[in-house]
């Protein structure tokens, strides 16, 4: 179940990232607060041409406009993430596996983090316990992605829906407005992308082929020893 939802989420994340980027280029300006348009002062502007001629940016070039299917795929992929997340969450609660992800109680201090970082810097090999389980840095990263970044992504996405916010106005007001939600949505994308890069780099460093085989089939080379 973990593997199925992991790969569904991965496929959906790629779709969300690509289509999100295509949607952003139709208005690569970001604002803070409730409203924002080309007549208001932006928080920042991505220095790229736009796919719409309504954005004055000095470029004499228009990007291809792909908003139609991008929006449709974006929301469909978002549904995949939400449903996969629900299945994953229920499975993890039911199986009690969350305890393997939440940092161990004895590691709830800065010393544990400093020690682990120092170990990475010394390029020390993982100890026996870590070969079977996740260390405090890994656990923290996973917990942040699962319990903070993905929920925040869904929240800020819904806070841009005029119909959803009509039913639940607090969801957008707590974020400071519709445009703030859009801006946070953009930044959290960056954090998720950062996680993806580090995650893939770590997989590559620890043996890409065996890790991929493990995540696809469930077997690892030493699976006989697995409990």
């Amino acid at each position: 179940m973990v593997r199925v939802t992991h790969w569904l989420t991965f496929i959906a994340f790629v779709a969300l990232f690509v289509t999100g980027g295509l949607i952003v280029i139709s208005h690569p300006r970001f604002y803070w607060g409730e409203v924002g348009n080309v007549n208001t002062k932006p928080l920042f502007v991505i220095p790229i041409p736009s796919s719409r001629d309504t954005v004055p940016n000095g470029y004499n070039y228009e990007m291809p406009d792909e908003n139609g299917w991008s929006r449709a795929l974006h929301f469909e992929a978002a549904w995949v993430v939400v449903l996969a997340g629900l299945v994953y969450g229920i499975y993890m609660l039911w199986s009690g596996h969350f305890k393997n992800l939440i940092p161990a109680r004895c590691d709830w201090n800065w010393q544990a983090y400093r020690d682990r970082i120092a170990k990475y810097l010394r390029r020390a090999p993982p100890d026996a316990a870590e070969a079977r389980s996740y260390n405090v840095l890994q656990r923290t990263a996973y917990v942040i992605v699962i319990f903070v970044l993905f929920p925040l992504m869904i929240w800020t996405g819904l806070a841009m829906s005029p119909s959803f916010t009509a039913a639940f106005p607090l969801t957008v007001e707590l974020l400071g407005g519709r445009q703030s939600a859009r801006t946070i949505h953009f930044f959290v994308t960056g954090l998720l992308l950062l996680f993806l890069f580090v995650h893939v780099a770590m997989v590559a460093l620890s043996g890409f082929r065996s890790r991929m085989r493990g995540m696809i089939t469930g077997y690892t080379r030493d699976s006989q020893e697995a409990p």
Partner: protein, 252 residues
């Protein structure tokens, strides 16, 4: 990690079969309660349907967000529109005195309204946000008469499922379900920020639908058709937007 075993495969297959059966049952329920949008087929159909169905269940009878007067945007932005045709220019030269809104379809009394007739049905105002699918937005005060009043006047028949509205802009038409059509915030706007609705913002008559994105708020509305068969219109996808790849339901 659980390795793949025969037991797991059988369990997985069983779960998948149950899922397909569940989807089939959900599909039948959704059809009965009108939770499938007119463009709810094709590759993106499941996503569109899930969004529409969930939002319809969640947002029944919830009004659009309204804002304080101080939040009205000083410099609202209007998308460029195609240059108006000669007929529009002639109406404009006459101060839109001859502008007509035709109401027909599944109504007891097909009729047409001048702007004065519409104002006579009672004016409402709302301070709501226009949010474009591109990402930008602005807030304005909109003054007009609720669509529901116009439909009541024409005697909308009980079998009506959708209200189609079209514009003097060539090929521009949209439709909404009865939940949106009877929402008091669905306005036939004639005024904006204490003045007449400027032509750039859709004057003399724009349908304002604040719980959906800007492209559903069609400018220069001159024809409303109530219908019990949305498939008869255009390519049968509910509006012109899905013909260009955009969702019919734009509450998201």
């Amino acid at each position: 990690m659980n390795p793949i075993t025969r037991r797991n495969l059988i369990l997985g297959g069983g779960a998948a079969a149950a899922g397909v059966g569940g989807l089939d049952a959900a599909d039948r329920l959704a059809k009965r309660y009108g939770l499938i949008p007119p463009d709810g087929s094709g590759v993106y159909g499941p996503g569109e349907t899930l969004t529409y169905a969930c939002q319809r269940l969640l947002t029944r009878n919830t009004p659009a967000r309204e804002f304080s007067r101080s939040m009205i945007s000083k410099n609202p932005f209007a998308n460029a529109v195609a240059p108006p045709n000669d007929a529009f220019r002639k109406l404009q030269a006459g101060g839109f005195r001859d502008w007509r809104l035709v109401v027909d379809g599944t109504v007891a009394h097909p009729m047409s309204f001048s702007l004065v007739d519409l104002k006579g049905l009672g004016l409402h105002s709302q301070i709501t946000e226009v949010a474009c699918e591109e990402g930008w937005s602005y807030i304005a005060e909109w003054i007009g008469t609720p669509l529901s009043g116009v439909l009541r006047e024409a005697g909308v028949l009980p079998q009506t499922q959708y209200v189609v509205y079209s514009s003097t802009e060539e090929g521009m038409w949209e439709s909404i379900d009865m939940q949106d059509a009877s929402d008091p915030h669905t306005l036939l706007a004639m005024g904006m920020n204490d003045g007449n609705l400027p032509v750039g913002f859709g004057g003399p008559l724009r349908l304002r639908l604040p719980r959906q994105l800007g492209y559903k708020s069609v400018k220069y509305v001159n024809h409303i058709t109530a219908t019990d068969d949305i498939k008869k219109f255009g390519k049968g996808l509910g509006s012109v937007s899905p013909e260009y790849g955009y969702a019919w339901y734009a509450g998201m």
